[in-house]
């Protein structure tokens, strides 16, 4: 594995953790999370990365999602919440 792959792996792992941390406090939708992460350059990532990350976390059952209709003019939003498994994973991340 070359350095770029390695760096990319680390960033992905950090992103996982950040997302789980945020969602623990309350449900977030995609754009909120991206905006929040943007404040910290080390984890800032573009939509194409983040939304696929969500999909992976969903498949691994660390988070669950539900669509919520928004007020007029705003698009429906997919909110993500932490599952039991996600809470455990977050704790494992913390300790490690």
């Amino acid at each position: 594995m070359n350095v770029e792959d390695w760096k990319s792996q680390i960033k992905r792992g950090t992103l996982d953790f950040c997302i789980l941390l945020l969602i623990k406090q309350r449900p977030y939708y995609g754009y909120e999370i991206i905006s929040k992460l943007e404040q910290y350059p080390i984890v800032a990532a573009k939509e194409n990365t983040i939304y696929l990350l969500f999909r992976r976390l969903l498949k691994e059952e660390y988070i669950s999602s539900s669509w919520q209709e928004s007020t007029e003019g705003l698009p429906p939003r997919k909110y993500y919440t932490l599952t039991e498994k996600g809470i455990l994973k977050r704790d494992v991340f913390r300790m490690g």
């Binding site: 696929l52 429906p76 997919k78």
Partner: protein
């Protein structure tokens, strides 16, 4: 939703055709929602599609994710692998992947048929028939129906197991390709 964004959505739709309807609709709903959200925050359409990335790359990642989400077998997944290969996999993938997935299925099917053949031959033997067509010749040795039964079971299990292993390898390879070139 202007022309730039609509064109983007149409492109994605094209690449995701082999997905199950519910999954594809969910992905499109998600992408539309992202676009509208960004638009509401005064981001220009050109910037929006830049942030989403090349539609082919995005679709490749989504499709790869959907295929490699588990290594269960389904005919739909088999079809999706072919679609993935024709759009995304490059020369290696286009030759190798469809071949390996077809081979893995053939092995799994063969792995089931072989012991069935062994059982049929054995039952025929018990009833006094010799079903000549069903057997294996190993060099100069041709097993009797009684010997053939355990042999066919062993061979069947091995074939099935090999088929499964190949199928899982296939899925892993697709997962790896779909992750490549992702800019984090």
């Amino acid at each position: 939703m202007d022309k730039v964004m609509n064109d983007y959505l149409i492109k994605i739709e094209k690449y995701l055709k082999s997905m199950s309807d519910s999954e594809r609709i969910d992905i499109e709903k998600e992408i539309k929602s992202v676009m509208l959200e960004l638009q509401n925050n005064s981001v220009f359409s050109e910037q929006i599609i830049e942030r989403l990335g090349n539609p082919k790359e995005l679709a490749k990642a989504y499709l790869g994710e959907a295929i490699s989400k588990n290594s269960k077998f389904s005919w739909r997944k088999f079809g999706a692998i072919f679609a993935f290969c024709s759009s995304f996999a490059g020369i290696n993938g286009m030759l190798l992947l469809p071949f390996i997935s077809t081979l893995s299925i053939a092995l799994m099917i063969g792995g089931v048929i072989t012991p069935i053949g062994g059982i049929v031959k054995f039952v025929g033997y018990l009833m006094g028939y010799d079903i000549a067509g069903v057997t294996i010749e190993m060099g100069a040795f041709t097993p009797s129906p009684m010997q053939f039964l355990p042999i066919s079971i062993v061979i069947g299990v091995l074939m099935f197991w090999l088929g499964k292993v190949l199928w899982k390898l296939n899925i892993k390879y697709i997962h790896a390709i779909s992750q490549k070139k992702k800019t984090v």
